[in-house]
Symmetry: C2
Subunit: 96 residues, 2 copies
């Protein structure tokens, strides 16, 4: 329960709502497993997600936003690798 | 732009959505003045707002949640005392 998530977003791009939606999804799915989630407004098109100081998503690198199920899988892999995310885990693996 | 806000909420009480709504309001109103806003899930009916390490709202102490205009005024008083919050400032002063 000492896991920390950060979401850095570009406020000029109006990505606050998208970021807080993802924050809600992460805090709901990882209830009891995330101790804090920090929203950091930025500029210049930044959108990054950091889990326990590890950069797990960068819009600049990936060229897109993550799907929400994809984001949860990547968060899970860092903070709770044995956790099942239910049917969305299987669905996404089939698609990929 | 180095101001930090924390919202501690009771996840068992299902106050996540209320807390993220307040987070959005604060990040929107204080765009460029808040560098990070951290959501911290807790238990036992906790609802606290901390601005720059100062406890500015405790549901246990006040016995209620803040009105959103009230909360912004208290945040403003700590992080940007000279900032006007527009007409809601006047309206609330009249009511009080």
């Amino acid at each position: 329960m000492m896991n920390k998530i950060e979401i850095k977003y570009c406020s000029q791009c109006r990505w606050l709502l998208r970021s807080t939606w993802m924050a809600q999804e992460i805090l709901t799915t990882f209830d009891g497993e995330v101790s804090e989630l920090t929203l950091k407004p930025g500029t210049g098109g930044i959108f990054e997600v950091i889990a326990n100081d590890v950069l797990i998503w960068s819009r600049k690198e990936q060229g897109r936003f993550p799907e929400i199920t994809e984001l949860k899988q990547i968060v899970r892999d860092v903070i709770a690798p044995d956790k099942s995310l239910g049917h969305s885990d299987k669905v996404n693996k089939k698609v990929i």
